[in-house]
């Protein structure tokens, strides 16, 4: 950037009629101006040490049926954690990952336990499970915490790293993928019940009908129907401009009614009637994570260095920038990089900060006025 960008010799003065409007645009547009963020530290504040600053980059998040949060971090060592905020809680609890050298790229929740993908430093991948953390009691007054062991899942080791895991909408199954294999885990049987040799790339997405979608790496999506132990190849063809599926991000509301995918180049698609319909394009890229609320709004972070928060509203079919993330509750912190998201049960969205001294961020979207016809 050695040459002038927009060379002009006219100096703006305070008497200029545009001064106040420009000032307002800059000051109000810099930070999120719709909804609120809360940055929560990676600890039970005042009670436990936080996950170390250079081990706290959050890369995976999921919520269980009750809205409790599980996540994974990376850095000099890897951690998995539990978090809860309703009632008298307010905690992030480091669950003591048994192999700190193993990256946990994905995790998902069944009715009784949580399934973790573990990619050891030596290569390959395997599955671990752990009982769900119980609901903490009164974290303002007195507390105790059960420390459940992590258990390896039998016959669930893979020659390639696990790319992703997704629990089905009914939470009976989890579907996982490596670059050359798709597998199904049965939460009731507590074992892998199906392994299928299939090319896969990137992340997975659970739909409301109990199926899971994944990229096949050759320009199409496969669909797994775990209840039938079935895998349908090339059910959706990707646009030719879609790019590398490993760079794409899914976002779906908790019911799986609104399903979006954003390509690595920033094109937003919605899954409609079994096909991808282009909805908008991000001018700032790359998109690093996204999530959707039950009313169909999509919220996403995009851009390197200082990510800007975006909203896509399907009612207006509009994609807008909302500014950079900042928290003035719990922690006064700027949020610059995010790599994971999961919708909560009360309309909030959890975002995982992919940065040194990463925090778990809660976003409370603005409540929309009812549509003119009274329906939403």
């Amino acid at each position: 950037m050695k040459t002038p960008a927009t060379a002009t010799s006219r100096r703006l003065t305070r008497n200029d009629p545009n001064w106040e409007a420009l000032l307002r645009e800059i000051q109000l547009g810099a930070f999120v101006h719709e909804g609120y963020f809360v940055a929560f530290p990676m600890c039970f504040p005042g009670v436990t040490l936080p996950i170390p600053r250079d081990e706290s980059r959050i890369i995976a998040l999921t919520t269980d049926a009750d809205g409790m949060v599980y996540g994974a971090t990376t850095g000099r060592a890897h951690h998995v954690f539990f978090a809860r905020f309703p009632g008298t809680s307010g905690i992030v609890l480091d669950l003591k990952w048994p192999d700190p050298a193993a990256r946990c790229p994905a995790l998902c929740c069944g009715p009784k336990h949580v399934l973790f993908a573990a990619n050891p430093a030596a290569g390959g991948g395997r599955l671990l499970r752990r009982a769900r953390q119980g609901r903490p009691t009164d974290l303002l007054h007195e507390w105790s915490f059960a420390k459940h062991p992590f258990e390896p899942v039998e016959d669930a080791t893979y020659s390639a790293p696990i790319l992703d895991l997704a629990a089905t909408a009914d939470r009976r199954f989890a579907v996982g993928a490596t670059r050359d294999e798709v597998f199904v885990y049965d939460f009731a049987a507590e074992c892998v019940v199906e392994r299928r040799s299939t090319a896969s790339a990137g992340r997975l997405c659970a739909l409301g009908d109990g199926t899971v979608l994944g990229f096949d790496g050759t320009g199409a999506l496969w669909r797994c129907r775990p209840a039938e132990r079935a895998l349908d190849a090339a059910v959706v063809k990707l646009p030719s401009s879609f790019g590398d599926p490993a760079a794409a991000h899914w976002a779906a509301d908790r019911a799986g009614r609104f399903v979006y995918v954003i390509s690595g180049s920033g094109t937003l698609f919605r899954l409609e009637n079994g096909a991808l319909a282009e909805k908008a394009r991000f001018t700032v890229t790359p998109v690093t994570t996204a999530a959707a609320t039950q009313d169909g709004r999509l919220f996403a972070f995009a851009g390197e260095g200082i990510a800007h928060f975006h909203i896509y509203d399907p009612r207006a079919n509009s994609l807008r920038e909302l500014g950079a993330a900042v928290s003035v509750f719990e922690r006064r912190r700027y949020g610059y990089a995010f790599a994971a998201a999961a919708p909560g049960v009360s309309g909030e969205i959890f975002f995982g900060e992919d940065d040194d001294l990463g925090h778990l961020w809660l976003y409370f979207p603005a409540i929309l006025p009812p549509a003119e016809n009274g329906s939403r």
């Binding site: 950037m1 960008a5 010799s9 800059i26 810099a30 600053r53 260095g305 200082i306 006064r332 001294l357």
Partner: protein, 429 residues
């Protein structure tokens, strides 16, 4: 335009203080840095952050002329013209670092000055806008032997440099970026930077080094943070920086200024928050050093109203030839007068805001006022940095956006004897 005042303080020693405005840069609304160069002369940054399209100029005190020389404009030297439409090369914040080994004064620019056709600049707003975004902190190598800019490089793309430090022995510069608050290391020989990681959200205002080549700064929550190049890791230590426990939690008790004592053991420092706290730190005692709280630097006040950052302030820490620590701390009659909306109490002068030069004896830790910074117009309480030149004079940079041009003060000490061990050259901004 020079004005000299003689202050005797409460006793001995005294100092004669002279004001040197940046006459060659009438738009300079702040001086964010003053530093001794490797040549023993004193350099200052004449910054311009309030005027759209404003740029910074580098000044140097000329003893023969008893005046300031204007050396160069940072924007011109780094090919980043004020008409670019981008945020400008408006200042050197705490970004001077001398290299005695090379005879070079390194300086790194900072942001905040708005583009020429904009009223304001916020890096978060314009980060992804190539038309508006700050090009980046420019690192300038100024040869003090030839008075030439030898080279420049972009130190921190898109970001400003809040503060700079040099490990001259290893040929490394350390920089704290703004707004992302990342610590960077720059290899001077290779002209290569490396991002060492993020510290937090509130920029610490100084980096300092210890004898083990470790780099120290502070976290958002008032803990000392250490980067050890041998471990290649930023670590938050258990050392808590002092704060006023009546109403503060440690949040925002970040480092404002720090200076190495002549004994080679202690670092004297002050915090960047209301009720600034003086303390000293012995970094090489044990693994993570030891802090001693030296108490508040400024007077008490009503704690029910938040204090203006530019009112309750302490800075300009510098060791004199006599081995004593000198610094400038605010004093006031009514700290809130500026914001009291009454017809009779308006304006900066009405709060009686002053900048008092203090002398602290490191042996006894006793302190006494020895002078007051006074300029012909406006208040002079906010000293950014202090510097000691080869002749033993002290210099303090002044920030006061209300009156232009800003400038620096020279404080000539009277009645002091030189200590056996001279103060070390300050290696950080």
């Amino acid at each position: 335009m020079k004005k000299t005042s003689r202050n005797s303080g409460s006793g001995k020693p005294s100092c004669a203080i002279t004001w040197y405005p940046f006459l060659q840069h009438p738009d300079a609304d702040s001086c964010w840095s003053v530093s001794a160069g490797p040549d023993g002369r004193v350099y200052a940054s004449a910054c311009c952050e309030g005027l759209p399209g404003g740029t910074a100029k580098i000044m140097r005190y000329n003893r023969e002329r008893d005046a300031l020389d204007c050396l160069f404009d940072i924007a011109e030297a780094t090919d980043d013209p004020p008409e670019s439409g981008r945020a400008t090369q408006c200042k050197i914040h705490y970004g001077f670092s001398p290299s005695p080994r090379e005879g070079i004064l390194y300086m790194a620019s900072h942001l905040s000055g708005p583009p020429i056709d904009r009223p304001s600049y916020l890096p978060w707003h314009s980060w992804h806008d190539p038309q508006r975004c700050f090009r980046g902190s420019a690192l300038v190598a100024f040869d003090t032997r030839t008075d030439r800019v030898l080279w420049w490089d972009t130190l921190l793309p898109k970001e400003g440099c809040r503060c700079l430090a040099i490990d001259d022995e290893r040929g490394l510069l350390y920089a704290m970026s703004y707004p992302r608050d990342h610590l960077f290391v720059y290899d001077i020989a290779a002209r290569r930077r490396r991002d060492l990681g993020r510290i937090g959200s509130i920029n610490p205002q100084v980096l300092f080094l210890d004898a083990r080549h470790r780099v120290w700064t502070s976290s958002d929550y008032g803990r000392l943070v250490c980067y050890d190049p041998d471990r290649d890791r930023i670590e938050v230590t258990e050392n808590r920086i002092p704060h006023d426990s009546r109403y503060q939690t440690g949040w925002h008790s970040v480092l404002y200024d720090a200076v190495a004592a002549p004994d080679g053991e202690w670092i004297y420092a002050v915090t960047w928050i209301a009720s600034p706290r003086l303390f000293r730190f012995r970094p090489c005692e044990g693994e993570w050093g030891r802090i001693e709280d030296l108490g508040p630097a400024t007077q008490d006040r009503d704690l029910r109203w938040p204090m203006d950052t530019f009112t309750d302030h302490c800075g300009g820490l510098v060791f004199g030839r006599d081995g004593a620590l000198y610094y400038v701390a605010s004093a006031w009659d009514n700290p809130f007068a500026r914001w009291d909306i009454t017809p009779s109490e308006k304006g900066v002068k009405s709060r009686g805001l002053r900048g008092i030069v203090w002398r602290l004896d490191p042996r006894t830790l006793e302190r006494e006022p020895v002078g007051e910074l006074q300029r012909p117009e406006g208040c002079s309480n906010y000293a950014c940095r202090g510097a000691l030149d080869a002749e033993g004079d002290l210099f303090f940079g002044l920030v006061n956006h209300a009156q232009k041009p800003n400038g620096i003060f020279r404080a000539r000490l009277n009645g002091v004897r030189a200590a056996r061990t001279p103060p070390p050259l300050r290696m950080w901004g």
